[in-house]
Symmetry: C2
Subunit: 330 residues, 2 copies
């Protein structure tokens, strides 16, 4: 498998150097693997920190900036960052108002963020945690006890970031972040496996003519292998799985997310089927985002995430955000 | 080759329906294949129109909106739109101040835009054309007499759009667009071929362990096939080719563009090598954009575009833009 890299060992460091050079509004510590808002810590503001394995870009480093994350700590590809990294990130954004950790539900991340929170609490920093576990495909998986955290991470980071930016206190930012997660559900599908730089070959075997329904963002097995389906059939299966489990309520935020290797032309086409089916099922779509936001390296495929959104969530979603991966209103 | 589509015949229409549903600020005519700003024609403003084959998303439909294009006309995948489409787009954005056509240098596009301009002139619409031909890799190619138009299209569309938005007259918008093209150079590399929906298999044959230096955005042959190289070596070759030909001058706008199938993690790493080499060669980088902006479906690979930018160009680059694919300042 050909890659646009020097050697596998420096992939994450090289990417961080590239991020630093392209985005002078961020402070990137390549040595310690931290991406921090240049103006951090922002006085009297709750700090919002996330992190996880690399390979899901723009998640998380690409979502650092005004109105979203204050800091991100990227691990090696598909590998949790270490507690020290997370504790450094926490200290870097701590202004006295406390810090929220946004943690995707993978065993390594959960364990390490727990240790990081203890380290931070030892330093007198008040920490709350929100666990993202929106993937309805499977309960328990290769890297997870319970549901996996996937596309809803974007919603949680955006909404929590907006509320923190507006000056809300730690407990309210944490409660709202939890509400976003509770109101969100995702389902993903893989048309191809992905290839990590270290392995250099596909991480799992997906025969020609088959797809993986309910795949995880590291290529973890989903619900079922099937013969190839049309975009419309895939949208039907994804929305069946999501809507069966989604709390009833108002309109939704819709994320039609590419896994990294699927062209935008296909994603927009897939999105048209998702929107049509939602219309038939009388689910109102308040906002739509189509693109590669929570990726799995070069995996072909897509995921759908819905989040039931009340007026407050929509207002926070629409609030200005300025990050490399998501920007509007400023 | 598995794709997230229904049938090849409806790929472009389905994508346009998805674009319409996701972006209520655009008017999408699926039947006639037009993407137009909802507030077009904007009184007293020069209209800015582009178009070309589909498969390069977000180019061009994703660049319609305030501060960039007024309309785009997408053709079938890798196929020029027809003169009627272009003439309709021109009429839809014509407010009396004239219309600029931004045309990538491919024989079909050039011919059809010429006919469209004649149709529009017959209706009393003043039309100017700027031809984009920034690709230094080859002169004359599969679909082109002269150099191909690639990454600089983004720069031309952004800068011309900003100047038109500021109320400049047609001749000035056209002259500035031409200046941006003259000050821009690109070089692309493919690590894999791309697959069109109609063909369903790779459009060219690139053996494992080889890459194509100087590839075009439809997979047209470049300068040379070579054994696989590191990201750093590729950056060296690309910048050698570009800098040899770039007019001397001030700092540059830098676009490190993904062809569609290369993960953002790799693109940022590649960009770090590009920036380091530019530093060694004393080329100042004023602004950097890293991502999938001018793509070739699922092709793995990247291109580099530099544009020498004076104060005016930088001001126009920084001006607010609100499109699905590029947004800042609003």
């Amino acid at each position: 498998m050909k890659m646009l890299i020097n050697v596998p060992e420096t992939v994450v460091s090289d990417a961080l150097r590239g991020l630093a050079a392209a985005h002078p509004e961020l402070t990137v510590d390549v040595q310690n693997r931290l991406v921090v808002r240049r103006d951090a810590p922002v006085a009297d503001k709750v700090g919002v920190v996330s992190g996880g394995g690399s390979g899901h870009e723009p998640l998380h480093g690409g979502y650092v900036g005004m109105g979203m994350l204050d800091a991100a700590c990227p691990g090696e590809v598909f590998t949790s960052p270490v507690p020290d990294q997370m504790a450094r990130a926490t200290a870097a954004v701590h202004s006295g108002a406390g810090v929220l950790h946004i943690v995707k539900n993978y065993t390594g991340d959960v364990l390490n963020f727990k240790l990081a929170a203890e380290l931070a609490e030892d330093e007198g920093i008040d920490v709350r945690q929100v666990l993202v576990d929106d993937d309805v495909a499977v309960t328990d998986s290769t890297h997870t006890a319970g549901r996996r955290g996937t596309g809803a991470t974007l919603f949680v980071e955006k909404v929590a970031g907006a509320l923190a930016e507006a000056g809300a206190p730690l407990d309210r930012v944490a409660a709202t972040a939890r509400k976003v997660n509770e109101c969100s559900r995702s389902f993903g599908v893989a048309l191809s496996a992905c290839t990590t730089p270290a392995k250099g070959s596909p991480t799992f075997d997906l025969p020609p003519g088959e797809l993986e329904l309910g795949v995880g963002i590291h290529g973890e097995p989903g619900r079922e292998r099937r013969g190839m389906m049309t975009a419309q059939e895939i949208a039907d299966v994804a929305l069946d799985a999501i809507l069966e489990d989604l709390p009833p309520g108002g309109p939704v935020l819709l994320l039609v997310n590419g896994m990294g290797g699927t062209p935008l032309l296909e994603l927009y086409g897939f999105s048209s089927h998702v929107q049509r089916i939602l219309g038939q099922r009388h689910v109102g779509v308040a906002r739509t985002l189509v693109g590669n936001y929570v990726t799995s390296l070069d995996m072909a495929g897509a995921s759908v995430t819905l989040c039931r959104a009340d007026e407050e969530l929509l207002r926070l979603w629409d609030a200005p955000v300025r990050t490399p991966g998501l920007r509007w209103g400023c």
